[in-house]
Amino acid sequence: MKIATLAPAPMPTLSHRASRWFARNLIRIYAALAFIYLFIPVAYTFAFSFNDAGKSNLIWKGFTLDNWKNPCGAPEVCSALGNSLKIGLISTILATILGTMIAFALGRYRFKGRSVINLLIFLPMATPEVVLGASLLAMFLNFRINPGMTTIIIAHVMFCISFVVVTVKARIASLDPRLEQAAMDLYANERETFRYITLPLVMPGIAGAALLSFSLSFDDFIITNFNSGTVATFPKFVYVSAARGIPAQANVIGSSMFFIALFIVVAGQIISRRRKAR
């Protein structure tokens, strides 16, 4: 093989070279197409947030900044958004606390019934959302509890816990146990070791789990739709108004969420990279 390239080869023709470049970069081209596919609806949503649409945002009618200046202009968009943010925040806090506690128990202690608990954590993730939503509603109806804000939060905490446990547990498992032993060797007691060594090291995992919970909660539709009664969340608002065309303000909110979350994730990555560099 080597000899062939060393021998004076005839000048490759342009089309030959192009096809070789193409073959070598085939997988990159494929990945680029996949990314385009992933981003088409995001770009579309962003573009149509500038549509001078009036009530129904189905066809392009002209460029305007009005939707961005007045994101609450359409009725009920902002109250739905407010509900979603509130539910997301409360569910995230509760699920992160409960899930992190379970993760520490699983990652740091030996006790009986481990496999049953692992199964209990795994099952909600392996159950389709319709089933989770329908079963909770069946129970609430049975106990004559009216669905509303509280039942949505109960449901969201339930399905977020498993994801928090798995994320935080992985972080705990990846810790070097020698760090904690070193702290103990330096006369730190158990509590101090936890406070100054373990917790700070696990923190990125907890933060990641919280972000994941918030996005799962904020974006959830199926379980919420079953257990929300008359309360409107942002996804529910979009679903209900989809038939007659959603207002452009919803696109403004969706696009803003996109940029805010992207900013948080990228900033987080830059911070952690700087820390590593130090």
Binding site: P41, I102, A105, A126, N142, S215, I222
Partner: protein, 301 residues
């Protein structure tokens, strides 16, 4: 996303401390979370099971049901909706295969060819999630819609008839499902591809395997945990989804999720909805168990 971390560190080395072994602490740590899961996951599932065999007494008000252990409900519910059942599994299966076909090269590229761009590209895989799932699906209905750019373009071509439609077709529902769960496929695939030691690939080359053989005999087997996790994370939510079928489909593309939803809310027939949910859950659990057994990876949590 969780599986990304989960598969990376299979089992946690529990600190073996004689005094920790018997303390109450783990139970106290577990208690609140487990109470929540038992109260709002196990108990509801049990309620669902009990609702599924209820019947409505003669002349009772709509939505009133009493327990009568009528297991016939399951057969009735299944035979009335078996089309939707099979459709759910077929659509979800096709969407999972398509997602695998799109995600594998993508994850491979990020793991082996992206260099410094790696973490940025990973963010890009997750980023579409940040715009609401529903907004993106609605966007697809408009992009593929009758007045949308794709249909106008196809109509301008000579070989399509003028009444071509993309929305309200099985094609649209399956592409919606594929699209929505693509990141769930990509992340676990990336996680297991990224852990492959490049030296194993070099070793294969040294043993005279060509690129294709190396890929088939080394890369693919080593990435199996990611394939299993990714296909499950795509298939399970796709089989239960009803948003894509509602927004992108027509009455003939309805999936089992649509039926459960309408039984609950439009028809107020709780026992049928419960029986269908239970059958769906059981079917998925059986499939998942068989699949995990067959592929020989059980480290999922």
């Amino acid at each position: 996303m969780a599986f990304l971390h989960a598969t990376a560190h299979a089992s946690a080395p529990a600190i073996d401390n004689a005094e920790k072994k018997r303390s109450l602490t783990p139970y106290l740590l577990l208690l609140p979370g487990l109470v929540w899961l038992i109260g709002f996951f196990v108990l509801p599932i049990a309620t669902l099971a009990s609702t599924s065999t209820m019947t409505r007494p003669e002349g009772a008000a709509v939505g009133t049901y009493v327990q009568s252990l009528r297991f016939q409900n399951y057969l009735d519910a299944f035979s009335a909706n078996k089309d939707q059942f099979f459709r759910s599994f077929i659509y979800a299966g096709i969407a999972t295969l398509l997602a695998l076909a799109i995600a594998y090269p993508l994850a491979y590229m990020i793991a082996f060819k992206a260099g410094k761009m790696r973490s940025f590209l990973l963010v890009l895989v997750v980023a579409p999630f940040f715009t609401s799932f529903l907004l993106r699906t609605v966007a697809w209905t408009q992009i593929l819609g009758d007045e949308g750019p794709v249909v106008s373009f196809l109509k301008a071509l000579p070989f399509f008839s003028n009444d071509i439609r993309l929305t309200s077709t099985p094609f649209a529902v399956v592409s919606g499902l594929t699209y929505n769960f693509l990141p769930f496929m990509t992340l676990p695939l990336y996680a297991s591809l990224e852990r492959i030691d490049p030296r194993t690939l070099e070793a294969a080359g040294d043993l005279y395997a060509n690129g294709l053989t190396t890929f088939r005999r080394v890369t693919v087997p080593l990435s199996m945990p990611g394939v299993v996790a990714g296909t499950l994370l795509t298939f399970i939510p796709a089989a239960g989804d009803y948003v894509n079928a509602y927004l992108l489909g027509n009455p003939n593309t309805r999936m089992i999720g649509n039926v459960i939803d309408s039984r609950f809310f439009a028809i107020v027939d709780y026992p049928t909805a419960a029986a269908l949910s239970f059958t769906l859950m059981a079917a998925i659990l059986v499939l998942v168990t068989l699949y995990i057994r067959k592929s020989g990876t059980d480290e999922l949590v």
